[in-house]
């Protein structure tokens, strides 16, 4: 108790120096919470979005299908398994046929992936009901990014050229009947969606698909010839790795910030012990053990962390709450890299995150406060009380 009282008295006595140390430490504390909040928020948001728009609760891929190698698309298709027919009728599985094609927006040539999906599916959020054919025109829908890239709007016709299953060229005009906005660029960029039956007919691949998305786990892990099941862990593997590497990158940044704040506290402690030798000598002369004196100085240093938590809470809580409300707007064009990003990232703070941050800041501050204080054990109390430099 005496240590705490002394610590508070000394800290308040140091005035501006204490305030600067505390403020810098509070910045590190708030930044740690903020950065981790953004990473967690993005992680949460991205996973919800990809499950909703792309992955469902898992996917069956044709054994030859490799989404990163368009060269495989030509041979990656097989008859949709009969076992899934009932679920298909209910719309709880969505077979998708994938083929390469070329579109000619305004007479420019652009390579795309043409995807066929059942207009009545209820498995993923793509608004496929707009693919129901009502007249002569073949309806097509595009994501907003793709529409922006090719300057297409609802009602426009899009000339598309593709090769059928045997490699023969064919060309047709598609009518754009809808645009959709999604945070998942991997169902948007470079893609045009049409009805599954249309694409099957166009390519000569009747009742065939490249992948099958499932809506619930009851259709997972079935033994289907030529099809391999990809569960969410496998499908989200790349994203998890990306988020992991992003977390490491961010950790380096806030560790630098924390190191700067701790360096300031370390310096303050060294200076205090150097300038307050008479005080140290007096403490020992009055009967305090060296360990107790070290305790006083360590508590004094650690109090920076406690004060920084208070100061950080005063300015940090309103800031973090405001960010939670508004999110962090992402620069335009960021989503063109294929990352599932919304217009802004809404941070997700958890009690665990705050507690871990508090522990990290407090423990590291205690350590840097203790390290210079160890010098006290080597001090001669007679010399110290006389203020002789040791």
């Amino acid at each position: 108790m005496l240590s705490i009282k002394l610590a508070i008295k000394n800290l308040l006595g140091a005035g501006l120096r204490t305030f600067l140390n505390v403020f810098i430490l509070s910045v590190a504390f708030v930044v740690i919470i903020m950065q981790n909040g953004f990473i967690q928020g993005w992680n949460k948001q991205a996973k919800v979005d990809v499950v909703e728009w792309q992955y469902g609760q898992g996917q069956y891929w044709h054994e030859n299908y490799d989404p990163y190698d368009p060269f495989t698309f030509q041979d990656a298709h097989a008859t949709i398994p009969e076992k899934l027919n009932a679920a298909r009728q209910e719309g709880t599985v969505a077979p998708i046929l994938v083929t390469q094609a070329t579109v000619y927006p305004e007479g420019r040539l652009k390579s795309i992936v043409l995807k066929g999906i059942d207009p009545h599916q209820k498995t993923i959020s793509i608004p496929t009901e707009k693919l129901v054919r009502e007249g002569e025109d073949v309806p097509a829908i595009l994501g907003s990014r793709m529409a922006m890239n090719i300057k297409a709007n609802v009602g426009d016709y899009l000339l598309v050229r593709w090769r059928d299953a045997n490699g023969m060229f064919d060309a047709k005009e598609l009518k754009i009947t809808g645009l959709f906005r999604t945070d998942v660029p991997t169902v948007d960029l470079g893609q045009v969606w049409i009805a599954l039956e249309e694409l099957q007919q166009m390519t000569g691949l009747d009742n065939e698909a490249t992948m099958i998305v499932i809506k619930d786990q009851s259709h997972a892990e079935m033994d289907l010839a030529s099809w391999e099941f990809q569960d969410l862990d496998e499908l989200l593997y790349d994203m998890n790795q990306m988020i992991k590497s992003k977390s490491v990158g961010n950790a380096i940044m806030y560790l630098i910030l924390l190191a700067l704040a701790l360096l300031a506290i370390f310096d303050t402690q060294v200076l205090s012990i150097f300038r307050r030798q008479k005080e140290i000598g007096t403490f020992i002369a009055m009967g305090m053990t060296r360990r107790q004196v070290i305790g006083v100085f360590t508590v004094e240093g650690t109090m920076h962390a406690v004060l920084s938590l208070i100061v950080g809470a005063i300015w940090g809580i309103p800031l973090l709450l405001q960010l939670k409300k508004t999110g962090l707007p992402m620069p335009e064009g960021y989503d063109q890299f294929g990352l599932p990003l919304g217009d802004s990232i809404i941070p997700a703070y958890s009690l665990g995150l705050v507690l871990i941050s508090v522990v990290i800041v407090t423990v590291t501050t205690a350590i840097v406060s203790y390290l210079p204080a160890r010098k006290i054990t080597k001090m001669n109390p007679n010399d110290a009380i006389r203020g002789k430099i040791q």
């Binding site: 040539l109 390579s111 490699g167 023969m168």
Partner: protein, 244 residues
């Protein structure tokens, strides 16, 4: 009486139609003009885009239709870019990045240097006789030259174009114009040959104009500056080692 009427009918047939060769014969004659064991070409490719026109110079060594090595000579931006085709594989070397990449998948559909030719057009199998049924459907004049109109319909499903229409010079057996159609009947590409010259014992075009009919622009001119047939192609040029 029957003999007299048959004779009368034969006499009434115009001379040109009487001499009409079959579609296959015409294709054979075209092949003997256009194909060669090997060749060395220095050419210019003039690409007429929607906004500007670019000229690219190149030197090509080829053996049959399976192997070809091309090095771009100008402009400075493209200079040193090399392309190698070995049967159904295509590689491109870019000096800017000092990397060789195999053109596959999506990239095969991209245009070559922004022209109206795609990489997959370069890979297209030109053996027309095996995969198409040829029929002479008439006679038309192209730029003042009398031509046979030849319609080629695919006899197997594994060809790139369902139908080809070729206008063949009746005298020199050169295709002066060719149109390539999709399965739906949409005209996809058009090729026209100009400046026909006699080189050795064969007729060969000095300029070929390619046009992707779905794309805007005035097409791509391929101008032959120098050409030699049946030359010795240095062995080292037709291997991946030549790309660096």
């Amino acid at each position: 009486m029957k003999t007299i009427s048959t004779l009368a009918a034969i006499l009434c047939i115009p001379g040109s139609l009487m001499a009409q060769p079959s579609g296959d014969e015409i294709l054979d004659r075209i092949d003997s003009n256009m194909s060669s064991g090997s060749r060395h070409v220095i050419s210019k490719m003039v690409i007429h885009g929607t906004r500007n026109t670019r000229t690219i110079e190149s030197e090509t060594w080829s053996v049959g239709d399976e192997k070809a090595y091309t090095e771009y000579l100008a402009p400075a931006r493209e200079k040193g870019t090399k392309m190698l085709k070995l049967e159904d594989k295509l590689w491109i070397y870019s000096p800017g990045t000092d990397r060789t990449i195999q053109i596959s998948g999506h990239m095969l559909r991209q245009s070559v240097m922004g022209s109206d030719l795609s990489y997959e057009d370069m890979m297209d199998d030109p053996e027309l006789r095996k995969k198409y049924d040829a029929a002479v459907t008439g006679s038309e004049e192209i730029n003042g030259t009398e031509c046979w109109v030849l319609e080629l319909t695919a006899n197997s499903p594994d060809v790139a174009y369902q139908m080809r229409k070729i206008w063949v010079d009746k005298q020199r057996y050169l295709p002066l114009k060719e149109e390539l159609y999709a399965k739906s009947g949409t005209l996809l590409k058009k090729t026209e040959l100009y400046d026909i010259k006699k080189i050795g014992n064969r007729w060969y075009p000095g300029k070929i104009v390619f046009k992707d009919m779905l794309k805007k622009g005035d097409g791509t001119e391929f101008i032959v500056e120098e050409i030699e047939f049946n030359v010795d192609v240095p062995e080292h040029l037709l291997s991946k080692a030549a790309l660096r």
